[in-house]
Amino acid sequence: MHPRDLLNEAMAGLLARPVRSVLTTLGTVLGITTLVVTLGVAATAGNQIVGRFDELTATSVTVEVPENPFPLVDWADVGRVTRLRGVVSAAALAESNQSANLSVRSNDMVDPTRVTDQTLTVVASSPGLPAAVKGRMVEGRYFDAGHIARGDKVVVLGQHAAKMLGITRLERAPAVFIGTQAYTVIGVLGDLKREKSLASAVMLPPAVGGRYGLGTVTRVLVNTGLGAAELIAKQAPAALSPGNEALLQVISPSSPTRARDAVEGDVNALFLILGLVSLVVGAVGIANVTLVTVMERIAEIGLRRALGAARRHVAAQFLLESTLTGLTGGIVGASVGIVVVVAVCAAKQWTPVLDVRLAVMAPAAGAVVGLLAGLYPALRAARMEPVNALR
């Protein structure tokens, strides 16, 4: 039998009952559409999320230093992190529960008309903090190694903290009182990109921080070059505390690919199951209708056998009919799915991302569904004895 004859017969068989063929295709169309939309929207959304990963998050590494009987990280150790290739800036920070809510005043006067006491967070930091939080000195300067070495009683205020305390200018070297201790304000730090909570905090040099439980480093902020974060995240603990690196906790940005995969994974799992269920339903539909068609066409099968059709010819025709049904469903489903993905993207102003392989595989999947669904009916048709079929 010539393949073109087989195709002719299968096509004629399908077109003989066009409405039924279209309805049969519907199940596969739904299944494939669901699959394509799921995969397409997931890929698009995943890409969208990756797009939101800006440079800041991708280059920020934080090392948390847990409480320990002896200090795991010394203030000077930060210098070793700065020397790592790929590190742009780094600073150590000390925070404690004891210093989280301290009463801070800008003068010792009792002024009944305004609230002079502010409850602010006090932290200690190494001199590199402005660079590490990607901020800038709005007024004055940050303390340096000299201040620390001398144990100068100086503070730097976060932008909001300065506003709350009513300190706007530093020409007169204003002082703030933390508890009863007076400190000279030498700078105001603002425009923070990282650790924005520090904008309403008071920064002390580590030398005087011991008084408020801020003697040991609790966090190290590291900024890396683009793409270096993953490597630095591995190296920083060893640089900070050789021998104790396992005790340090590193918070590093998840790599973009992993983030995308995670999002895709979440969305996919649910809808993929949905799509597969629809596909199975579609397959059952095709199987059912093909079986009914076989039963209706018993006389035709008998005729074909009488005209010299072997069992395999009969089987091949019904298999091809169901495969073509599935293929049609796959093509229509893939097309509708792609249109839906593009429509969703148009509505959300996203960039549609679609795997070309998906567009090709979807119709193929439909054909396979049709093929599998046609197996049993085709077998039934082929098994039919011509004597019985012609009766």
């Binding site: 039998m1 010539h2 073109r4 004859d5 002719n8 017969e9 004629a12 077109l15 003989a16 006389a299 035709e300 008998g302 005729l303 074909r304 056998r305 009488a306 005209l307 010299g308 059709a309 072997a310 069992r311 010819h313 004895e385 011509p386 004597v387 012609l390």
Partner: protein
């Protein structure tokens, strides 16, 4: 002497029911080239079983059946199918035309399962339709034609591929007398052209036109 088209030698068919039914018992029949044989008999006499045997649609229990010189009882299923497709043209009582295909397509269907080339198939089908005088109905759907025309289309399909045997099962059973005459006239013509025809019928009008009558009663065959 050339091989006869049909040579049945003690052909027996039993159906394995309880008790077994012997539908054909040791039948002998010889049909020569361009014979025109009518097989007659009441219903239940084994007519249909004989037709199935002659048409290679079913296997006998014992005995031998040589069709056109080929011993068919030993053939495997696929080989029997090939012989059936190439040597036998079937004409059925209910025409068995595909309702959604034109007359021409229905006739061309006869060659779909053969080894012959696709080339010239359309011309051969048109010639076959010419032989049954249906050239004016080539593109018609079977549903829009009279019973006689439909049966002629079916005969044209059976004639495709020049079969050795035209096997007709109650070919006029669904036709009025006028159409019956037309079909029987056609058989006469075909026989004159050298076609071997076996007609299974219970109508006297049909069997009387045949050159030879064979009666089947309770599974046994007798010349009349």
């Amino acid at each position: 002497m050339p091989e006869p088209v049909i040579l049945l030698d003690d052909l027996t068919k039993e159906f394995p029911t309880d008790p077994p039914v012997r539908a054909l018992s040791a039948i002998n029949l010889r049909v020569e080239r361009s014979d025109y044989v009518a097989v007659v008999g009441p219903s239940g006499s084994g007519k249909s079983t004989l037709l199935n045997m002659l048409g290679l649609l079913d296997r006998p229990t014992s005995g031998s059946y040589r069709l056109d010189g080929i011993e068919t009882t030993m053939l495997k299923d696929s080989a029997r199918t090939t012989v059936r497709g190439s040597r036998i043209g079937f004409v059925f009582q209910s025409f068995h035309l595909l309702p959604h295909r034109s007359v021409l397509e229905n006739v061309m269907l006869a060659e779909v399962y053969g080894r012959g080339s696709r080339k010239g198939r359309r011309e051969r089908a048109l010639r076959a339709l010419e032989r049954v005088r249906l050239s004016h109905r080539v593109e018609f759907l079977p549903g829009r034609m009279s019973g006689g025309e439909r049966q002629r289309a079916a005969i044209a399909r059976a004639l495709m591929g020049e079969p050795a045997l035209l096997l007709c099962d109650e070919p006029t059973g669904n036709l009025d007398s006028k159409n019956t005459d037309a079909v029987l006239d056609l058989f006469d013509e075909l026989r004159a052209q050298g076609m071997t025809i076996v007609v299974i019928t219970h109508e006297n009008e049909v069997s009387e036109r045949a050159a030879r009558r064979v009666r089947i009663t309770d599974g046994t065959l007798a010349e009349e």
